[in-house]
Point group: C2
Chain length 392, copies 2
């Protein structure tokens, strides 16, 4: 391996407040980065950069840490085009919702599931995502959940067991029996492949007691909790997440003052992960990012990429929505899509460009990271390094 | 030149209701297209396709007519990142608005303006745009308006004289004198390069009488009117556009019932061109596309790409907004971004895939055009032919 100098970076977001302009983004103008194997070896002013074996001229482009997409659902088969089309066109449609994807996923071969996952990962990577979390949750049998996690684990370290996505249709008359399965045999089969345990705590999915059972059983097997919380209605999810020291409460669309206080009082231990792609594609109410940020809550921004409610893999698109519709500043949105995601995954080696961090970075065909919101929908990511390897 | 067969198209939007499924989109499943030089020679079922000299396998992807972006402002210099950042972050900023871009544009060399234009055109083309209209309006002197149009005319046939964008700062105390210039010496210098004459009819820009003077003077020189109408407030723009048989009334955000009636009664002669990128980037009220469509108005969808209020070149992004926020169906949005734009430019050779039409088409990395709205922000355009030449 050789060292690579990426130089002539017009504007570099390091997310290291010790560097650059002293803001949380640690912005350096006319910057350079030295990559040594899979790590960042040096960051600073281009004029002071040390020598390296090879050089890449960024020609004044902006550079940012690769996006950390800490919430996606990418082990699935089929799509839900007709359901989406009917919903957006105001036509009735006997939508199966998640059940449609469950049926297609169960019917798919391992190779089909893996090819679909890889296709979406490559698509996300071209848009600057260098770390992604992904989940099971479309299998809902012991064998189908375990194979989803096994397939995911071959492509990312951030694998989440979501057997408790919905009550399996096979247990429609016996939800308690399904919780027993999720906390018993299914957990035993899945835990070896996963780092995280998750539950969809919502009316029609799992209530607070069921969610607690799922998360505590997972934790007993060494999995760290994260929670789909307060997406469609007020409920116990967020406070349960804080109480159980979950890494993240995801969605956070319907929050009481007590929910916001609980997240703020966790001092960043439980991150609020906002997923505006879901509100976009379901025409739902936007999460109030401003309220969370002003209360001191740590906020992450992710895609929720899934074929039902948010079929986008684009972190730049989520940043544009966060700024326009959730009242985040362009700086806050960029931070939340990088370091924020890392916090939600309890990682310090990603989402930041500082010596020793993973060499995950994206170049933008723009002079500033602000252009991700200023130029919505435009594919601005022109180059991506992942663990020091140029992948786009 | 040789003929090219593009085959194995999973789903083809022709916009020819005589073809395929009988809807306005003229959708054909398992389709093929034959390109002969710069024209479409044949369209139909893949199984019935004639032989051609070369073949391209679309591998089941969807194909659509290239987008017709009938409203952009691409002859400019500089950007307005700080103004955007301040607006979206709730900070005050002594924004110069259009005047900032006027100053930067006047200061730029011809080569700089052309390079900037070409950069944005290539960016748009990679996103499927094969025809674009563009305007002057950041020069506001005789020489600067004429050079903007001369530069634009080297890259598109659809060039619009917009000397009446705002009153030139040089005439701040004498708006009547500026209208005299725009309808006199400036028009004489600009008309040879332009097909269209346009005016920003709005409080703080040009009132109804001034707009009428600009459009009738332009028409007397052979330019066809189009109007920036009813963007920021109610006003006379839309009805003036219809009365003067303008090809398009653009923006149409604030409409009375009489405005909607006037557009509907024009029977498509005056198209309503909606520009949701502007409402997105200024957090403004959405135009009510549903009201216009239900009244029978012909609707086009365009980017309004400009560095101040809508710095997106992405027609797919505008489609996603049109569906989510303006209540267009995915089919209507696709039609408006292709044939709708062609109607707004009074063209029948583009926006459609039928024998004799221009061979302008885009392949999507998706099975259906619905995915442009279903997968917001994701760069789905995988190949583009413009006048029969593969350009992406």
């Amino acid at each position: 391996m050789t060292t690579t100098l990426v130089t002539n970076i017009g504007s570099l977001v390091t997310n290291d407040p010790a560097q650059g302009d002293g803001t949380p983004l640690g912005l350096i103008e006319n910057a350079a980065v030295v990559i040594d194997q899979d790590k960042i070896a040096w960051v600073g002013a281009a004029a002071e950069a040390p020598a390296a074996d090879t050089a890449f001229d960024a020609q004044g482009r902006a550079a940012i840490p690769g996006f950390v997409d800490s919430h996606s659902h990418l082990v699935f088969a089929g799509d839900r085009t007709q359901e989406f089309n009917a919903r957006m066109s105001g036509r009735s449609y006997s939508a199966g919702g998640i059940r449609t994807t469950v049926a297609a996923t169960r019917a798919a071969t391992d190779a089909e599931l893996e090819a679909n996952l890889v296709r979406h990962l490559h698509e996300a990577r071209r848009q600057g995502t260098t770390t992604f979390e992904t989940k099971s949750g479309y299998g809902l049998t012991v064998a189908d959940e375990a194979r989803a996690l096994r397939i995911a684990a071959a492509h990312t370290e951030e694998v989440t067991y979501l057997g408790a996505h919905i009550v399996s249709p096979d247990y429609a008359e016996d939800p308690a029996g399904y919780v027993d399965l999720v906390t018993g045999e299914m957990l035993d089969a899945c835990a070896p492949y996963a780092r995280w345990v998750d539950v969809f705590c919502e009316k029609g999915a799992f209530d607070g007691d069921q969610a607690r059972a799922v998360l505590t059983a997972g934790a007993a097997k060494g999995l760290i909790p994260r929670v789909h919380a307060n997406q469609l209605s007020f409920g116990p999810g967020v406070q349960l997440a804080v109480e159980l020291e979950a890494a993240s409460a995801d969605h956070c669309t319907h929050l009481t003052d007590a929910d916001v206080d609980a997240l703020a009082n966790s001092s960043g231990r439980t991150v609020a992960t906002l997923l505006p792609g879901a509100e976009f594609s379901t025409r739902a109410q936007w999460p109030d990012a401003r309220r969370l940020l002003d209360a001191g809550v740590t906020v992450a921004l992710s895609t929720d990429c899934n074929p039902g409610s948010s079929y986008t893999s684009s972190m730049p698109f989520c940043i544009a929505l966060a700024v326009r519709d959730m009242r985040m500043t362009p700086d806050e949105a960029l931070w939340s899509a990088t370091t924020g995601g890392a916090r939600a995954l309890r990682r310090t080696d990603i989402g930041v460009l500082a010596p020793g961090a993973r060499a995950d970075l994206a170049l933008l065909d723009a002079p500033s990271h602000v252009h991700l919101a200023y130029r919505p929908g435009v594919p601005l990511v022109s180059a991506v390094w992942q663990r020091g390897v140029r992948v786009h």
